[in-house]
Amino acid sequence: MLIFEHTSPGRKNIAQSPVVESEINDIPAELRRKTSAPLPELSELQVVRHYTSLSQKNFSIDTHFYPLGSCTMKYNPRACNSLAMLPGFLSRHPLAPEKFSQGFMSCMYELQEMLCEVTGMSGFSLTPMAGAQGEFAGVAMMRAYHDANNDTERKEILVPDAAHGTNPATATMCGYTVKEIPTLANGDVDIDALKQSVGPQTAGLMLTNPSTLGVFERNIEEIARTIHEAGGLLYYDGANLNAILGKIRPGDMGFDVIHSNLHKTFSTPHGGGGPGSGAIGVSKRLKPFMPLPVVAKENDNYRWLTEDDCPQSIGRLSAFMGNAGVLLRAYVYMRLLGKEGMQRVGEFATLNANYMMAQLKNKGFEIAIPDRRASHEFIVTLKKQAKELNVTAMDFAKRLLDLGYHAPTTYFPLLIPECLLIEPTETESREALDGFIDALLQIQSESENDSAFVKGAPYTMPVKRLDEVRAAKQLDLSWVNQSS
């Protein structure tokens, strides 16, 4: 039932109403609202009960193993939440003078510094509010750099065909055309094709490494050389940084600009789809173009860098400084882990993925790129099951829900048919991994015995498979306008 359907007209929640002494008579009638907004009218208990019971219809990391590939659904330490929500941080006005901000700014400054260190970059701006906005900032900086060099004929961004959809969408937003570079069957970028595509029109290449295929790009140095020799810049999509954290740094691989999804690698919550943070790091030559604000430290005093300090900045991307509360959570996480803890992240994320891949291969599942090391994730392809049993990746995904597991990423990357992209993360125990492997084996055997049963899944969720065609054709996007 919708919250609107619990409404009793006239019911008020007095505890949440401030005292108003008199009628408003100074706002002209033609600017006033004529009828009250049709919002729900409930008691506090009704609201609490409704949203508590709704929450119970969700899978989440706190309740289920959630091996969603490319999303890094690791444990979100509770301390990060409670310490970012200390009253002093919550009540700080974003424009409060530096006098009332030194505590907060010291956290932001140290976060910038730690991110520089673990990625090998020279500067970091924390302002982008999601990975996609980080990408935008990164590509906008590449453009600003070329423009500053009067190098205005570079109109094209190269993107491997395995890339996230945000990469080409971002390049378009920055006024570039996109050229896709094919990927070889072994998961590496097709270097020959890349070399043929590079030229004076190339502004840069956007690369995820390890790639979305779950393997490390072995020719990264040659790729970097090829792009740089043509005068282009190299962009690192940090979606898979968790795989290599503490083991190898994007800056050392030759990247000029990177974004880091703090909600992945640095364990800030995904929140049902945000808020995230797409902090961006730059090499020395791109530093002047960083988006603002950035925190600087001068004689033990922290201050904001402004347009006066950074006249070549690409500007501001948010009203204030991005998702500050998310940044505080990432800061707490990094302090809890420290240097040694961060080195373990990449190691154990990789151990867990390679263990699952080996076990599933042993039990007869087909691995998309079988002869490579997995990074922190790997791909199972169910094309044989789809062909022989008529059971697809979607069917496996839905049946997994019944067995108490969130499904891996399905049908991405687009290059691999009937794929499951599985990312266990370092915080899962061996028992959890084994349980998931057993669940896949159970579904395999169910598929062989009664494929129709698997195709009817899920059976134990609040709803069965939903009619998405109807949702798109008979648009019902608001209860208010339905009922009126």
Binding site: K12, P40, Y51, R335, G341, H406, E428, K464, A471
Partner: protein, 456 residues
């Protein structure tokens, strides 16, 4: 190691299944000379107690001045239930609801959020949110360029009484797409958009006009007149509104003859703490005709195989993971958790609670205006009613006055002299329902002392 559960025995067993001698061997595809760079600049780890000690000290260090500052972020009371429920793990640690059957909690909540936003704005549809108010305006500009098929100019009129940082962020975001944001002057006595300045564009090809209600100065726009003017001239109307004010003010869907085409703004006043600037969320509503041009996630109500009601992400063909370089936006996520808080906030307050909060803000602001305008050296800069912010003209430089108020633990407002040097010593002050009569009296008393002191 923190949060890694593996025992030595398990590591050994797992490596033997893989057929590797060591964890390090799993990285043997990475060129050796690139590996194992030091990260010595990262400090050693601390346990939770130690980090807790550090963070408490830093949070305390920033004091908690009495806040009379708004300028886009507003201090409101947030019921205890809001964030207690929002930070339940089932909301806090879920992801974008790709597996709809296992995400009905988040999906239904977003549908309810969309419904509440359409209730508040009187628009047809809402999306699931964008990053913040500034990014919402930039996306609204891009949407208007796509949506206004009759206009070819890609010119947007942006009155200077729109939050200036929304303007600068929008310029950063749309600048590469050959879109021009044109400043429109304000009327110096009212702070409203100058109708004369607008009329200078009559007969020209204008893609859209932005209207801020209330304005950045707290003053109220003649929304009907501007909306009708824009529509008569073939331009779409983008409303930038404070959602809290909509409990009192005419919603954008009812502006003029036809209503605004797009309404957006920052949802922070509805249940998000000021929190140094985020996370907040941008909201965006539009008329039904434009829904396929809307960026971001949208949730629709549908049925399952048994005909039972359920919720899914819909109209995904607009989005980057399907359309790639031809998507309506590169936006991938929304600000789900803050939307969760906001939905619970609006439910707890209900229509009458929201009206009371908005009215209390307005009343407190008028109280402060009455006290301050009696002080020598303070003038209210613009004529006409305000919502909960007001611009004061002082007889001393604002920065100096604010520094002295800060010494008294008062956050006295926002200095307009950098963004609007032409206004002179202008200070933007905000009073919400949080301020007591005593705090308002204190502010007036301290300001009076500061302005009357003769120190030249």
């Amino acid at each position: 190691m923190p949060f890694i559960p593996h025992t030595e025995d398990e590591i050994r067993d797992m490596l033997s299944v893989i057929g590797a001698d060591s964890i390090d061997q799993l990285f043997d595809e990475i060129p050796a000379h690139l590996r194992a760079q030091s990260i010595d600049g990262v400090p050693d780890g601390m346990n939770e107690m130690e980090v807790s000690r550090l963070m408490n000290a830093r949070a305390k260090q920033d004091g908690q001045p009495i806040c009379f500052m708004g300028a886009g972020a507003y201090e409101h009371h947030i019921p205890a239930a809001v964030w207690q429920i929002t930070t339940r793990g089932e909301y806090y640690t879920a992801y974008t609801p790709y597996q709809a059957e296992a995400s009905q909690g988040t999906l239904q909540l977003i549908y309810e959020f969309q419904s509440m936003m359409t209730a508040l704005t009187a628009m047809d549809v809402s999306n699931a949110s964008l990053y913040d108010g500034a990014s919402a305006l930039s996306e609204a500009v891009l949407m208007a360029v796509r949506g206004n098929r009759k206009s070819k100019s890609r010119r947007i009129l942006l009155p200077t009484n729109v939050n200036p940082v929304y303007g600068s962020a929008s310029r950063s975001i749309v600048q590469h797409q050959n879109i021009e944001l044109v400043d429109v002057a304000i009327d110096e006595t009212t702070g409203q958009t100058s109708m004369d300045a607008l009329k200078a564009y009559e007969g020209e090809d204008i893609t859209a006009v932005v209207i801020s209600q209330p304005t950045f100065f707290g003053t109220l726009e003649q929304v009907d007149a501007i909306t009708d003017w824009a529509h008569a001239n073939g331009a779409m109307v983008i409303a930038v509104v404070n959602p809290m004010s909509l409990a009192l003010l005419k919603p954008p869907g009812e502006w003029g003859e036809k209503g605004a085409d797009i309404a957006c703004g920052d949802g922070q006043p509805l249940g998000a703490p000021m929190s140094s600037g985020g996370p907040y969320y941008g909201f965006m509503c539009c008329q039904k005709a434009h829904v396929r041009q809307m960026p971001g996630r949208i949730v629709g109500r549908t049925v399952d195989q048994d005909g039972k009601e359920g919720f899914v992400l819909t109209l995904q063909a607009r989005e980057q993971h399907i359309r790639r370089s031809k998507a309506t936006s590169n936006i991938c996520t929304n600000q789900g958790l803050v939307v969760t808080a906001s939905t619970i906030y609006m439910s707890l307050l209900g229509p009458s609670g929201l009206e009371k909060v908005a009215a209390a803000c307005h009343q407190n602001t008028n109280k402060l205006i009455a006290k301050l305008s009696a002080i020598d050296g303070v003038d209210v800069l613009f004529d006409g009613a305000v919502f909960h912010e007001v611009v004061l003209k002082l007889n001393k430089p604002v920065a100096e006055v604010l520094a002295k108020l800060a010494d008294k633990n008062i956050l006295g407002g926002y200095d307009l002299s950098k963004d609007y040097p032409q206004l002179g010593n202008a200070l933007l002050v905000c009073v919400t329902e949080m301020r007591t009569d005593e705090e308002i009296d204190d502010y007036a008393a301290e300001l009076k002392k500061i302005l009357s002191a003769n120190e030249r």
